[in-house]
């Protein structure tokens, strides 16, 4: 296996790992407080829906769009996702946004589950719907990342392998621990994924603008694929500069245990 394939697998693995941790927290909250059967039915229904979306979108993208249009469309969307993640990572690292906390999310889901009241009948609709929605929404981003990376690298199996490995590992850890996966440094992982998505997104979206010129040929970056490494370095440097400039000074006054940094306007 060459370096590009390994890079593809690692990128999709990390992106999928982060999303899986979030989905698992939601499903565990529903399982422990409402009904494991309904939570798991919701999870598998969402996975089925995701498989259909993947096949349909993958077929349509691969067969109907010219290469440069594909690069522009999915590169542009990937860039938007990546910059959203990078923005949050910068704001969290500089203390301007509350750090993502799986324990807090778990507690919120448990409280919502308790407040929803008893369900009647065989299937607990609340647990089913919350699990379905959680897995489907988190999974859609993974599907998108796998399709984008896979199609651009012309290696859907490699991208799928990375995502599948993340699913297996997160599920394995969740089953072994039987509690929310809050020990995982999700914020750091999200920072890394944000850098990767922003860099690949910049590369492909700019290439794809070539769809609008005669011959519909993609623009050609100097150094070709090597430029992705330069873009990763550039986004990393820019984000570190932002973190340093935006870092809030430590407050000397005592802080209560439940306090969190004030969230900036969304």
């Amino acid at each position: 296996m060459d370096a590009a394939t390994w890079g593809l697998i690692v990128a999709t693995f990390v992106a999928c790992f982060v999303e899986m941790v979030e989905a698992t927290t939601i499903v565990m909250a529903m399982g422990y407080t409402r009904s494991w059967k309904s939570a798991l039915v919701g999870t598998f229904a969402a996975l089925g829906a995701l498989a259909v979306v993947t096949l349909a979108a993958g077929y349509a993208l691969a067969n109907w769009l010219p290469e440069s249009a594909l690069q522009l469309a999915i590169g542009g969307l990937l860039l938007i996702f990546g910059l959203q993640w990078l923005r949050k990572a910068i704001l969290r690292s500089s203390g301007r946004k509350a750090v993502h906390d799986e324990d807090a999310i778990y507690r919120e889901e448990v409280e919502a589950a308790k407040a929803a009241g008893e369900s009647k009948g065989g299937l607990d609709l609340f647990a089913f719907m919350v699990s379905f929605k959680g897995v489907f929404l988190e999974g859609m981003e993974v599907v998108f990342i796998v399709l984008t990376f896979g199609l651009n690298a012309d290696n859907i199996p490699g991208a799928s392998l990375g995502a599948a490995a993340a699913v297996v590992i997160v599920l394995g850890i969740a089953i072994a621990l039987r509690r929310p996966l809050s020990m995982i440094n999700e914020n750091l992982l999200k920072y890394g994924v944000g850098l990767l998505l922003a860099s690949f997104g910049t590369y492909w979206a700019v290439e794809g603008i070539g769809i609008f010129r005669d011959g519909r040929e993609s623009l050609d970056w100097p150094g070709h694929d090597l430029m992705i490494l330069v873009l990763i370095a550039a986004w990393l440097l820019l984000s570190r500069i932002f973190v340093a400039v935006l870092r809030k000074p430590a407050v000397p006054a005592p802080v209560l245990a439940g306090d969190i940094p004030v969230e900036v306007k969304k």
């Binding site: 860039l79 959203q84 910068i90 700019v206 603008i209 070539g210 100097p222 820019l238």
Partner: protein
């Protein structure tokens, strides 16, 4: 109608997310790059480097708007 609204909301949340400025920054950068390409002043190398720089600048501006001090 409710279904359409929910469908639209889902895609808005999925693509635009919680900060519309990022999407606007990306689209504006690509529009300016398209204009530069149409004007024909740069070759591929110039255009790609310009595109990368535009995206970096647009993202920086959107983040600066986010963290600007609020007026009292």
């Amino acid at each position: 109608m409710r279904f359409l609204k929910a469908f639209g909301q889902f895609w808005y949340d999925f693509i635009i997310g919680d900060d519309w400025k990022i999407a606007v920054a990306v689209v504006l950068s690509l529009v300016v790059l398209f204009a530069a390409m149409t004007a024909g002043v740069f070759g591929d190398t110039g255009l790609t480097l310009l595109g990368g720089a535009l995206i970096v600048v647009a993202f920086s501006i959107s983040l600066a708007i986010d963290v600007r001090p609020k007026k009292r």
